[in-house]
Every structure is written in structure tokens, then in C-alpha cells.
């Protein structure tokens, strides 16, 4: 297969704070369910920050045997469970021939943080001198892509993409480009993160950007982000392959834009954001007025939400006021390297179902955020095309454009 292909989504898989399958996740999103709750990790009682969006009641023994579990950090467990669901949902069998032509491209910002935390705890707190034997292959940042490859029998290009909060969007964007170019016939792609640890939360506390209670993107009186975790994966295929096998087509990925600010380490940059959106639209051959919905980066920080709003004005002009814009981080927190994948799943489902998930926790307008953020309740809306935005610390921006299929 070679040349330029249309790229369609044929399978979705999710492990999230508000549902352990794509269907449950979507149902919760539409019902405005909050995944925020008390932090339960080791030494959480010593933390100043009390709230995060953890994946609750996730029992690895339901998915893996003892031997497998000893090789899998929580981040890889999430990744493999979501990948298996996406593959099953797509109805593909990764046989010998397809195995070589399938990619596993996964976004992860931080790698196996729980394994790292366990090791530090043993060494510095318990004064032990040994760590568990598989510490290195569990915590390595590429572990989630390796585990998907091993567990699902994928022998084509497999690697992890790390760009902090934009990791999954970069990963999916690369997978999209590879399928479009005919370099692979299938891609299992998305993002995964499990970095809610004592040290991880302490790090975010030190940044002074977390909300103590509720994440209220774009709202007045918003107090910052809340950490999340989870994984979302999808199967991408060329349209002709999906059609030939009679697959249900969930949506079409049509454009990808990415760039870097070369500016501040953490402060968002309106022009950088706008450029990534412009590039995604151009790649998709869409005009700004073709877009009805934007799944915003919308972290809930003062700086992001104001700057993203300015960037949306810059890209969409008068049409910005007609967009439905929502931040699903209000429900699942900021899952960092998994965020872009959780959000693209939400965007694909919104296209497919004709319903926009809300921004919950919204108290009322902030003068600096003057667009329609679909406050507090889902909305029925016919969507032909949508964007999903991811803007990372380090000034790395990535935007995907998707279209309803058929």
C-alpha cells in the first residue's frame, strides 16, 4: 500500500477516572460526571493537594496474570487494556501479515512513575539497598509501547512519543501521517499516563498551578488544574482497508498541526497555539468556518484558558463565537501524556453521536474567556468537523482535526 490514503478510526479503548471502557467513558462525559476525588496513593495524607482524578477500582488481575503483572507498571497496564479494547472494537485480527504492517505509537509524558516512586521509597525511606528486578524495564518511558507490541503481537514501528501534555496528540498525529502515507496498514495509537505519586504530586504542588478542589476550565474563579491519569487508544486504518473488511467507521482523521514556541518554559503562547490550529486546518483542507466543535486543551489554569481563548479568536475570527468549545479535563483532570488521546476519543464520539460533552464546574464567564464553553450540560449539535488541542509545557503544541465520516 502506498500513496495518500484517507485515514479512519475504527476502534476505541479507554481506561479513565470516569469509566474503564470507551462506552462507559463517553456515557460519563455526556452526563457530566466528575472523576475527581481524594488522592489515595502512598503518603497521600502528607500532601497539601488532596484531590486528583484517579482511575478507581482498576484491578489488574482482571486483565493480566501474576507473571504479566510483575512486568507491568500501572501506566502499561492502562495502555494494554485500552489497546486490547480498541483492537477488539475495531474487529481486526492482527495476524502474521498484518502484524508487520501495524504500528504502536503511544504518547506518555512521564513513563513508569509508580515504579520509580517504589524504588525511591525503598532506597531513601526504607534504607534498603536493592530494588525490584524489573525496575528498569517497567519504568522506561517506552515500556507502554513495548508492552502493547508484545501483548497484541504488533511488529511494525513501535515507540513512545514524549511531549508532556501534548504526547498523545503528537503520537496520534504521527500514526495518522504514517497511515496516510501508506507506511503502515494499521496503527494502534493513543496515550497513557499514571503519574499520581507522592513525588509527582509534590512536583505539581511546587509549580503552584493546581486547584485545591475543582477544575473549572474557562470559568471565572478557576483555580488551576487537577491531575488525572488513564489511557486511551484507537485503531487507525486507511479508508479502503476499513471498507474492504466492512468495518464500522467511527470518524476520519483529516489533519495534524504541530510546532514549538521557542519561548517560555511554562507560559503558553497564543501565536504558537494558533499556528498549530492553523496548520491542522490547512493539513485537513478545512476553512475555520468548517469547524463546529473544539475540544480545548482547557487545563483550568488562569494562563492557559485565557491564552487559548485568544488563540481561538485569532484562528477563527468572528466564527470563534459560533464554536462549541469544551474542556473534558473538567471531568477527567489533566492526564498529561494521555490527555490528548482521551480528548480525541471524546471528539470522535461527539462527531459520531452529535453531542458535545460539557465543561463542568463552570461558575460563570471570566471577561478573558468570552466564548461558548458548553457550560455544565452536554449539548446536541450536528458536527461535521472538529479540532482537538494539546499544548504542552516546554512550548510544544499539537492539534488534530477530525471529520464525521459518511
Amino acid at each position: 500500500m502506498s500513496g495518500v490514503h484517507r485515514v479512519v478510526v475504527t476502534g476505541l479503548g479507554v481506561v479513565s477516572p470516569i469509566g474503564h471502557t470507551a462506552a462507559d467513558y463517553w456515557r460519563s462525559l455526556i452526563n457530566g460526571v466528575s472523576g475527581l476525588g481524594p488522592i489515595t496513593v502512598r503518603m497521600a495524607d502528607e500532601l497539601t493537594q488532596k484531590v486528583a482524578a484517579e482511575v478507581k477500582d482498576f484491578d489488574p488481575l482482571q486483565h493480566f496474570d501474576d507473571r504479566q503483572i510483575s512486568t507491568l507498571d500501572r501506566i502499561s497496564q492502562f495502555a494494554v487494556v485500552a489497546a486490547r479494547e480498541a483492537i477488539a472494537h475495531a474487529g481486526i485480527t492482527i495476524d502474521e501479515a498484518l502484524s508487520l504492517k501495524t504500528a504502536a505509537i503511544v504518547g506518555s509524558g512521564a513513563g513508569g512513575q509508580l515504579t520509580t516512586d517504589d524504588s525511591f521509597y525503598r532506597l531513601y525511606r526504607e534504607n534498603k539497598t536493592r530494588v525490584f528486578p524489573l525496575t528498569v524495564p517497567k519504568l522506561m518511558v517506552n515500556a507502554s509501547a513495548s508492552q502493547i507490541s508484545m501483548q497484541c503481537g504488533i511488529r511494525g514501528p513501535a515507540f513512545v512519543v514524549a511531549s508532556a501534555c501534548a504526547s498523545a496528540t503528537h503520537a496520534i498525529g504521527l500514526a495518522f501521517q504514517m497511515v496516510r502515507a501508506g507506511q503502515v496498514e494499521c496503527a494502534v495509537t493513543g496515550g497513557t499516563e499514571a503519574s499520581i505519586t507522592y513525588g509527582g504530586v509534590r512536583g505539581w504542588e511546587a509549580m503552584r498551578v493546581m486547584a485545591p478542589d475543582v477544575c473549572r476550565p474557562f470559568s471565572r474563579d478557576r483555580k488551576g488544574l487537577v491531575l488525572g491519569e488513564g489511557a486511551a487508544m484507537m485503531v487507525l486504518e486507511p479508508l479502503e482497508r476499513a471498507r474492504a473488511r466492512g468495518a464500522a467507521i467511527l470518524g476520519e482523521v483529516v489533519g495534524f498541526g504541530m510546532g514549538a514556541d521557542a519561548g517560555d518554559l511554562t507560559a503558553p503562547d497564543r501565536d504558537g497555539m494558533a499556528r498549530a490550529m492553523d496548520d491542522a486546518l490547512a493539513d485537513a483542507q478545512l476553512a475555520p468556518q468548517d469547524i463546529q466543535y473544539v475540544n480545548a486543551h482547557g487545563t483550568g489554569t488562569a494562563a492557559n484558558d485565557e491564552t487559548e481563548t485568544q488563540a481561538l479568536h485569532q484562528v477563527f475570527g468572528a466564527h470563534a463565537g459560533k464554536l462549541a468549545i469544551s474542556s473534558t479535563k473538567s471531568m477527567v483532570g489533566h492526564a498529561l501524556g494521555a490527555a490528548g488521546a482521551l480528548e480525541l476519543v471524546a471528539t470522535v464520539m461527539a462527531l459520531r453521536e452529535g453531542r458535545v460533552p460539557p465543561t463542568i464546574g463552570y461558575l460563570g464567564p471570566d471577561p478573558a474567556c468570552d466564548l461558548d464553553y458548553v457550560p455544565n450540560a452536554a449539548r446536541a449539535l450536528a458536527i461535521d468537523a472538529a479540532l482537538s488541542n494539546s499544548f504542552a509545557f516546554g512550548g510544544l503544541n499539537a492539534v488534530l482535526a477530525v471529520r464525521k465520516f459518511g
Partner: protein
């Protein structure tokens, strides 16, 4: 000038890369060139220096710590509360 004020101003001066005698209580942190990350680092230095916890959230910077004097008095209060 109390010791606390002197120490606070020394920390601000270091972060702003300004000579200490040139800093006045009425100076705005923004005018001293302290950007958001500098402010977060300054808060860390102040917490470490005085062994206090400063309830600072970068998401409402406009309501906290506009001027050097405001930082000094906030730190003085936290230090007094501790002792």
C-alpha cells in the same frame, strides 16, 4: 527594617537580579522583571528560608503579592504565626 524584611528583600533581589538597596517596598514584582516562574521560585526560597507554607496559587497572581511590601508583610505574618 526587621530581619524578616531584610531576608525577604534579599531573596527578591536575588530572583530579580537587582541590587538590594535599589528595592523599595512599593516596587511591583512585575516591574522588577519577576515573571511567573521567578515568582514560583521566589515563593520556594521564602518557604525554605523561613520554614513556612505560603498559600500561593499562580492562578490568582493578581490578587496576591503585587508589591515587595505585600510580600514582606505576608511573610512577616506567617513567621509571627509560627512563633
Amino acid at each position: 527594617m526587621t530581619d524578616v524584611a531584610g531576608d525577604v528583600i534579599a531573596i527578591i533581589a536575588k530572583k530579580a537580579r537587582v541590587e538590594k538597596p535599589n528595592i523599595e517596598p512599593g516596587d511591583r514584582l512585575e516591574d522588577l522583571g519577576l515573571e511567573s516562574l521567578d515568582a514560583v521560585e521566589m515563593i520556594f526560597d521564602l518557604e525554605e528560608k523561613f520554614d513556612i507554607q505560603i498559600p500561593y496559587n499562580a492562578n490568582n497572581p493578581r490578587t496576591e503579592f503585587n508589591t515587595v511590601g505585600e510580600v514582606v508583610s505576608a511573610i512577616q505574618q506567617l513567621v509571627d504565626k509560627k512563633s
